[in-house]
Subunit: 409 residues, 2 copies
């Protein structure tokens, strides 16, 4: 059986299951998710798993082994609006294929495998991400149940309508002591593997993140009548800051820094901007390095303020620590990758993943799969069938290596 | 008679005449303009002038002299929305006071004076500036009569309702051969005189202007997953450009360069900007220098494009040549200023004025009057009474000097 080809085929089928007629949008506890769970559940059963759903709506396939411990594998089945077919779904289908592939060997496993297809990672419907993994990992915020979606439907009611039970989320918490770890395969969502021509890569950590809003208060004035030396141009200050942020990141390997939003006032062609604000997003796998970059950038802001007499204000929006992947699991995953690639790139994940939440209760490892041009969250998302084959073999070899190490203990 | 105090008092009275109840807004051919014309016309009569209106609605006061030639003086009576009391009105009232001041001397003038209170300079109602002076100077665009205001009222109909005659604009063209020149006093609308602590200053030219829109086409991407070295960030390109524009202007005395508008796409905190656009406004009194700066800036854009693989597109929006003031009239105006100030600043006007249009038919000169902090087009616009006194004496002395030079010929 060519399980990789089957994954490719199933990604096509799953990609047609949507809440919307002409594009792929599969939101938490929606009708698309219901049909997706039915289909993916049937594939779990075909792979020899018993299938169930937990109280929040995660689909869970269980493949028994001889020992008490469980290895968790999976990813999410929800999508952004107008999504591609691979983000999330690939990790779920590879996990199922990995189980099917193992079952074909007729060998017993010294641990059981739970494949979890999380019901929400993107957080589109309730503007709150990782609902699925947070419920499993015991860090679900009960007050989130009161959130309403765009149609005014409360999350608790949506969970009930989906067949779940918002009052029983706790009874489905996984116990850390039972777990060997959580392994997730996911498209890279970036261009590194594609640029290096690698099919797969190893994730070292889910990067920590600093988000801030920076305001520049200068002085508006007539574009024709205020000499350059008498100006306090808020946009010139912001532009100098953007350049410094870029320089800081270019000089700091592993740091990514992005100004994604900007606005000026009064935003008229013949008026010197009196005010400007912008967003800043800093990520690094080492929290210490991210904090040092943040310090340098804030310091540069003070220099700009003094030099230009433009008041600069930093408002912290979010600080998220880095989540390192397990060295032990990653060592095995690296060995598995090197059976199929001469070289391996180890890189942080700049995007968040369920693994970052699962790390609260168990060691995690992540395998990145190359996606064309790094495009994701877009219908043009694309993964080569050959790479899916490599990823499947890597996961299978990882499970084999883990089984071997487990038997030796 | 303290004519300067009278001007201050009249600015207050005139500043209360508005199309709107709670703020000063006096648009072309509106009810505020009708009442303003009545009041200002009565002041012209008090100064010994005969008063009339031309076909577009400009208010014209005539003070006869012994010769055939006419000296034109004036400014505009329309305002922007939520305006200050001085922009335009000050020049009209100073011209009237100058005539009244001359009349008090009981001396005959070797030329007549026409004080023109232009009906439209700001162009708020019909989005087309200088309607008043263009009608007088013979460069009114007949197709503008078809323009409609926000209420759908066509300009031709507005002119008729105001008592004018859109079909007879040409009969009111002034003949260049009859004219000695046009002299306009106006608030500086910039901070140069205030910074230098000068009451008035001499305008050398109305600066030429280059306006352009610049588009940056990079590549959007995930703020967390695309390494700095693989980015084609449109906003980083725009920021580098803004810094270069500022540097270019700082290194080029007399040049002012402004990026007043900016926008990015998709404008999300976690997405690398794939596209950006901004406005550029360049002004200099020397066209050659403005063109050279434009060339350098466009060249820097090419370098940014090559370095960053971000496509940069320059779209020309407007090119307006500089309008130099008359050396002869300016020499007299300078002499008049130096009777009242130990020093004189000569500067271009970065803002447009009726004088720029009037220069098509006659030599022009302009006197700038200090305004507090350079603020204009705002209710906080402010001019010191003492400076109004200086400006009036300067205009009076200018007329005296011109009369003297005229008698000598």
């Amino acid at each position: 059986m060519d399980f990789a080809a089957q994954v490719v085929e199933r990604l096509d089928l799953l990609g047609k299951i949507s809440d919307e007629p002409d594009r792929l949008t599969r939101l938490f506890a929606g009708q698309g998710m219901r049909r997706a769970n039915e289909l993916v559940g049937s594939w779990m059963e075909q792979a020899g798993m018993t299938v169930g759903r937990d109280a929040i709506g995660n689909l869970i396939g269980y493949y028994p082994g001889t020992g008490q411990k469980k290895l968790l594998m999976g990813s999410h089945l929800d999508t952004v609006r107008d999504a591609g077919r691979f983000d999330g779904a690939l990790g779920v289908l590879l996990a199922i294929a990995c189980v099917a592939r193992w079952r074909e060997t007729d060998r017993s496993l010294p641990f059981s495998i739970k494949v979890i297809a999380f019901a929400d990672e993107e957080g589109v419907r309730y503007q709150s991400a990782y609902l699925g993994s947070r419920a499993v990992a015991g860090c679900f915020e009960a007050r989130d149940l009161e959130r309403a979606d765009a149609d005014g439907i409360k999350m608790a009611d949506a969970i009930r309508a989906f067949g779940g039970d918002p009052d029983r989320l706790e009874s489905y918490h996984l116990k850390a002591d039972d777990l060997l770890g959580y392994v997730e395969a996911h498209i890279e969502q970036g261009p590194v593997l594609d640029s290096a021509n690698h099919a797969v890569g190893l994730v070292t950590a889910i990067a920590g993140q600093t988000r801030a809003r920076i305001d520049f208060h200068g002085r508006a004035g007539h574009a024709g009548t205020v000499p350059m030396t008498l100006r306090r141009d808020a946009l010139c200050a912001a532009a100098e800051f953007i350049a410094l942020v870029e320089q800081c990141a270019l000089g700091n390997p592993g740091l990514v820094a992005t100004v994604g939003q900007i606005a000026v006032e009064p935003n008229a062609a013949n008026v010197i901007p009196g005010a400007a604000w912008l967003s800043l997003d800093l990520r690094h796998q080492e929290d210490a390095q991210r904090r040092e970059a943040r310090r340098l950038i804030r310091h540069s802001l003070e220099l700009i303020q003094r030099k230009r007499l433009v008041k600069c204000e930093w408002e912290s929006v979010q600080e998220t620590s880095s989540v390192p992947c397990s060295p032990e699991l990653s060592t095995l995953l690296r060995q598995a990758v090197l059976k199929h690639q001469p070289e391996i790139l180890a890189m942080p994940s700049g995007a968040g993943h369920d693994a970052a939440v699962m790390a609260r209760i168990t060691p995690v490892a992540m395998l990145f799969v190359r996606c064309r041009d790094g495009i994701s969250h877009h219908p043009d998302e694309s993964v080569r069938p050959d790479d899916i084959g490599v990823a499947l073999e890597v996961l299978f070899d990882f499970v084999s290596l883990l089984a071997k190490s487990h038997e030796q203990i």
